[in-house]
């Protein structure tokens, strides 16, 4: 078995033992289920909105807050924590390259996130099926795309967490910076952007400039992908207005998210390989 897979397997085993997998899955499932059952209340059941579409809208809004947080919690510790505990020193005396350690951990953490997301959100679909809701193929496709892009959003933040972890000297700093980044990308950026748009009143910021600004934040890329990608969904998300001006295809948005994963991962690998133990 090669070195990357060996490390991946160890990370997964540790995440299971540390109850990370259990905690993340339960958290996502509990929130997904409560949104599923409460979610139809505000819109009422006779407006014509299909339950699945509503679940997608509310779940993807939830994902933007929660998945990055879980991803950063798992990843911020990955390098600096192992260095502080002293396990990294021994590991690197073995015949593995540092990038292999990083990629191995990445696959492991991604597997944990993917498992938690699929099972947690899958529970929502299961609940809808059990209550006899109707769903069509388009709705299911949108839901699958939502799960897939949620995992991808997780990958982005795992990679960002590694970069932080490879740069800083101690775990406390890594945790602080991670929380700061989470606040910035999940809350502050959108508020600032909104404020900017209100002040600007559509004078100077063109549609393409807005698109560019949205692409600079991975959570907005995720939002664009899920809330505008499918016609039914965008109707209920309040993003229908934006869809008219959005010229970005789903493939392009996925590619941007992939780039948001690969670039921090590459920088993390670079910082890690330069680091002296």
């Amino acid at each position: 078995m090669n070195a990357i897979l060996t490390i991946t397997a160890k990370e997964i085993r540790q995440a299971i033992r540390n109850r990370w997998v259990l905690a993340a899955t339960l958290l996502l499932a509990a929130l997904a289920l409560s949104l599923t059952f409460l979610g139809s209340a505000p819109s009422g059941s006779n407006v014509g909105a299909r339950p699945l579409d509503i679940v997608i809208v509310s779940l993807s809004s939830l994902t933007i807050f929660l998945v990055p947080l879980i991803a950063l919690l798992i990843s911020h510790d990955a390098i600096v924590g192992d260095m502080e505990r002293g396990t990294m020193l021994l590991l690197l005396s073995y015949p593995v390259a540092r990038w292999q350690v990083l990629i191995g951990k990445f696959f492991g953490h991604l597997a944990v996130l993917a498992f938690a997301t699929c099972l947690g959100y899958g529970a929502a679909v299961g609940a809808l099926l059990a209550t006899g809701s109707q769903m069509d193929r388009e709705g299911l496709a949108a839901f699958a795309a939502m799960i897939g892009s949620s995992v991808l959003l997780g990958a982005v933040f795992v990679a960002i967490g590694y970069w932080v972890s490879a740069l800083v000297r101690d775990r406390g700093t890594a945790a602080g910076i991670s929380i700061g980044l989470w606040l910035l990308l999940v809350l502050v950026y959108d508020m600032a952007l909104l404020g900017l748009l209100v002040l600007d009143k559509g004078q100077n910021i063109s549609g393409s400039a807005l698109n560019a600004l949205l692409l600079l934040n991975p959570t907005d890329v995720y939002r664009l992908f899920n809330l505008t990608g499918f016609a039914n969904v965008s109707m209920f998300s309040g993003m229908a207005g934006l869809v008219g001006s959005a010229t970005l295809s789903a493939e392009f948005l996925v590619a941007v998210l992939a780039l948001w994963t690969l670039v921090p991962l590459a920088f993390a690998s670079l910082s890690f390989s330069r680091r002296e133990l």
């Binding site: 002293g86 015949p95 593995v96």
Partner: protein
């Protein structure tokens, strides 16, 4: 003798601190070498350099025919390392940990698991490492270092936390490996332990190698006096025995024991004179300078010229 480690004029700077400067030595196959020095003398730095974990500021290092920092790993498969204060992932069991490291070295898992029995962890193999005592973690550290019959063993403070019996088994295992051709480099503070075992001693001080040689060679170089203790009966308390020149440093210990500091070449001469004088000697002790004393001596002589 095949050279396994070759360190040529190696220096390592951390900011303004010289962790190692101008260090050169070679280690041969089957050698058992003790690397001693204060904390911060550069022992751990040298080990990390040999592992390729850090790059030398100056000089070159070859370990098992490779440059360890060049990113090739075939040498690392034949190398065992036990870091100081070794630590493991607390949530894995001893057996899982051992299997993990064996996989990384691409060695058979069953053989690696047997090593747990060798270090006396067989019964605790399926417990989580988090529940292990310090000594048990140390034993696990030894077990992982021995995976795959390494040709070079780098052991940083290997016997801390081990009880005397386990210490003995540990040194026996190491000596067996050395006899089969493994180069062993040991760092330790417990000098008395190394004295009987290490064929060669390298003394480091502030990043500089101050002495290197077998214990006998170091004794010759240091010219430290041998302590001779004679238990003599019927000697008045202030009396200097007739066979002892007044210039020879000596002292009286609890009444009837005379302790003499004899230069190496005076040793036999002195004993002959004692015998010729017909003094009634009840007991005799000859103590060559211990590694502790040699170490202190070389550190002193390294400090004075500065």
């Amino acid at each position: 003798m095949t050279v396994t480690v070759q360190i040529t004029d190696v220096s390592k700077r951390y900011g303004r601190i010289d962790a190692a400067s101008g260090v050169s030595f070679e280690l041969g196959q089957g050698e058992m070498v003790a690397l001693i020095g204060h904390n911060g003398a550069g022992k751990t730095t040298l080990m990390k350099l040999m592992l390729g974990l850090i790059h030398p500021t100056h000089g070159s290092i070859r370990v098992l025919g490779e440059d360890p920092a060049a990113g090739q790993f075939s040498a690392r498969r034949r190398l065992g390392y036990l870091p100081e204060n070794v630590s493991f992932d607390a949530s894995l069991t001893g057996r899982e940990t051992q299997r993990f490291y064996a996989r990384l070295k691409q060695e058979p898992l069953a053989k690696a698991e047997q090593l747990l029995d060798v270090v006396g962890l067989g019964a605790a193999a399926d417990r989580r490492v988090g529940t292990y005592s310090k000594g048990m973690r140390q034993r696990l550290g030894l077990a992982q270092a021995l995976i795959g019959r390494p040709q070079l063993l780098l052991l940083d403070e290997p016997t801390t936390g081990l009880d005397p019996e386990l210490r003995q088994t540990f040194y026996d295992a190491i000596q067996r490996l050395a006899a089969e051709g493994t180069t062993v480099l040991l760092c330790s503070h417990v000098l008395t332990e190394l004295e009987e075992r290490a064929g060669r001693v390298i003394i480091m001080n502030r990043g500089v190698k101050v002495a290197d040689g077998s214990l006998d060679e170091l004794r010759r170089l240091a010219r430290l006096p041998t302590k001779i203790r004679l238990k003599v009966s019927g000697l008045a308390s202030g009396e200097v025995p007739s066979w002892l020149a007044a210039s020879t440093p000596h002292r009286r210990l609890n009444g009837h024991i005379v302790e003499i500091d004899a230069a190496p070449e005076q040793k036999l001469d002195l004993l002959r004179r004692v015998m010729a004088a017909g003094t009634s000697v009840e007991d005799l002790d000859v103590m060559s300078p211990s590694l502790d004393e040699l170490y202190a001596h070389f550190l002193r002589s390294a400090e004075t010229p500065r």
